[in-house]
Symmetry: C2
Subunit: 353 residues, 2 copies
């Protein structure tokens, strides 16, 4: 299996090594062969090649079986013009690989729940999967421009029926593999695109009789995520709503540093990345939490390579290391022991072996 | 002063009476004269006149000094075609009166904070004001339509420079009257409209040197509202982001039934309404919490009539009744006493007299 590594910026460069170490351990234990190729994206690519997404990076990803991404961004490039900003690389690779389905599983770790901003009785037991459409909507619709000499501005939220159908199918399928409950989030009382979205979800229902569907308006969903996070199983929504709600959901369990994500295309390559960012403030210090990156590698094994046992072993390893009280500086475990990126990785690798 | 009452649907009809009782008490105590005129909006208007926003309602509001709105909506009209849905009345009156500035103060009530989904140490002391643009953006932009025989759909997020400037001014002014901190929320790394929004905020900064400004991306804001609600003072944002974030924020303090809002036009009439909805499940039972409606009337006195002492007296009255342990069924106060809508109103009126 050919894996492209895109470390990106900041702590991305550090945690990607951890993922590679863990995958090497898995390869050894299970007799798999993974080859790695590293390419630039984001700020690192701007510095080296003058663009956040070089052609060579896109080509390498297209030929790979899967892509692992660290994180992009940092203050160094914050004042660049928009086509020279790190996040353009991220948006570009999503579009280039047609990564239309962003999957974000959010589940609390028992011994980290105490760090949640929510009361333990509110958040305990929550286990949700956000399925966000990632290559359409207002992120890519045109026109997106100033008009009348800068006196007006427009952005366009555009979807094709096919784009909505494929993400809705993905979400129904995900719900079938979980508790069979799907919440479709839209703003059908205002947006025409949401009305069409809701119609398509209703049409698809017949194909998935084992899934219970509900429609929730985005504003109500933003409330319910906080007041009743345990009431959700799978949530499906369009790109911008998904951006907001998935970030909102990511802080509920109090352990952002543990959250992984998968971005999938129809049959091609998948891209896996931690939910956290490049954390420039702690970059280079060796204290970054590698868990989200390592768990992203586990998602890769499961979704792109169908290596379910291997994925589960990585997840068990992370859980077990936490259970033993080891944690990085971003977390706190009462009577636990704080370790750096390398030691955390070593502990996880040791468990696997 | 001529006040138009728009009870709307569900508990709107009940709580609007409470507001009227309280305003009558204020008029008596302070020797003011308020006249009231009641008109239909939402489902009630659909039933009577076949439209959620009759011309007579619009005309009456235009001639009034201020408008109090209960709430609109209910299951009875949920399957109506979109032009015959109660919320069209709400969107219509906002546009007709040019109510571009929606102000939502959110502050916890001390003896209700225990009901917050957040830990008390996270939410205690939070006191924020969300200033949401209410008549532009993707709510009203055109085109908003199906195309290609229903194969594609678009909505349009549109703003004029002037629309952004006036809401940003409003927010700066609000920040001057509070702690002098303004958070502008946008998605400038993706949307052209957000880039223009951010530029305008930067331009306006010079006019308000006493206000500290920060820009936060909408996804980050959705996280920070939960992890650090006390870090905000005034938040300003466009219509759809404001819809999502203000609802998210409204559940933080655990007392949605206490939250009021004001929707203001440039120099004309203002509309005041509770944040909660029409609550069809408890309508007609006499148990609805009138506090948010009564506090909306207080906002009316302050913003539309510059009657600051009168507004403060109402707010003190509500606080004092709570402090005495009285509460409606939606709330819980340890060792308190549960009362109905009428008794709650009477207690507040008694305090005022
Ligand atoms: C960096 C930004 C463009 C991106 C997005 O909005 O999609 C990020 O917030 C994300 O969620 O991956
Ligand atoms: C009813 C709906 C159209 C409305 C909105 O989205 O503005 C409501 O959610 C609100 O916030 O007042």
């Amino acid at each position: 299996k050919r894996i492209v590594l895109l470390p990106g910026d900041g702590i991305g460069k550090e945690v990607i090594n951890s993922a590679q170490d863990v995958l090497n351990a898995i390869a050894e234990e299970f007799n798999h062969s993974f080859t790695f190729e590293t390419h630039e994206i984001g700020g690192a690519a701007i510095d080296l090649y003058g663009t956040p997404l070089p052609e060579t990076t896109v080509d390498a990803c297209k030929q790979a079986d899967a892509v692992l991404l660290g994180a992009v961004g940092g203050p160094k490039w914050d004042n660049n013009p928009s086509h020279l900003r790190p996040e353009r690389g991220l948006l570009g690779i999503r579009k280039a690989l047609d990564l239309f389905a962003n999957l974000r599983p959010i589940k609390g770790f028992k011994n980290l729940l105490h760090a949640s901003p929510l009361k333990e009785e509110v958040v305990a037991g929550s286990d949700l999967l956000i399925v966000r459409e990632l290559t359409g909507g207002i992120y890519f619709g045109t026109p997106s421009e100033r008009r009348d000499n800068g006196q007006t501005v427009v952005d366009t939220l555009a979807y094709t029926r096919k784009e909505i159908e494929r993400i809705v199918d993905k979400a129904f399928q995900a719900a079938q593999g979980r508790s069979g409950h799907l919440t479709s989030v839209d703003k059908a009382n205002v947006l025409e695109s949401s009305k069409m979205w809701r119609e398509i979800v209703e049409e698809k229902k017949a194909q998935y009789p084992d899934v219970v569907v509900e429609h929730v308006l985005v504003d109500a969903a933003a409330m319910k995520l906080i007041t009743n996070p345990t009431k959700f199983d799978v949530i499906v929504t369009e790109n911008m709503f998904g951006d907001i709600l998935s970030d909102e959901a990511s802080v509920l369990t109090g352990s952002l540093g543990m959250l992984a994500s998968a971005s999938l295309s129809e049959d091609g390559v998948g891209l896996y990345e931690p939910v956290h960012g490049s954390a420039p403030d702690i970059a280079g210090k060796g204290i970054a939490n590698p868990s989200a990156m390592i768990l992203s590698a586990a998602l890769m094994l499961r979704y792109s390579f169908q290596l379910n046992d291997e994925a589960t072993l990585i997840e068990d390893a992370v859980q077990s290391v936490l259970d033993s009280g080891f944690h990085t500086a971003d977390l706190h475990i009462p009577e636990g022991r704080q370790v750096g990126t390398e030691e955390m990785t070593r502990l996880i690798v040791d468990y696997i072996k």
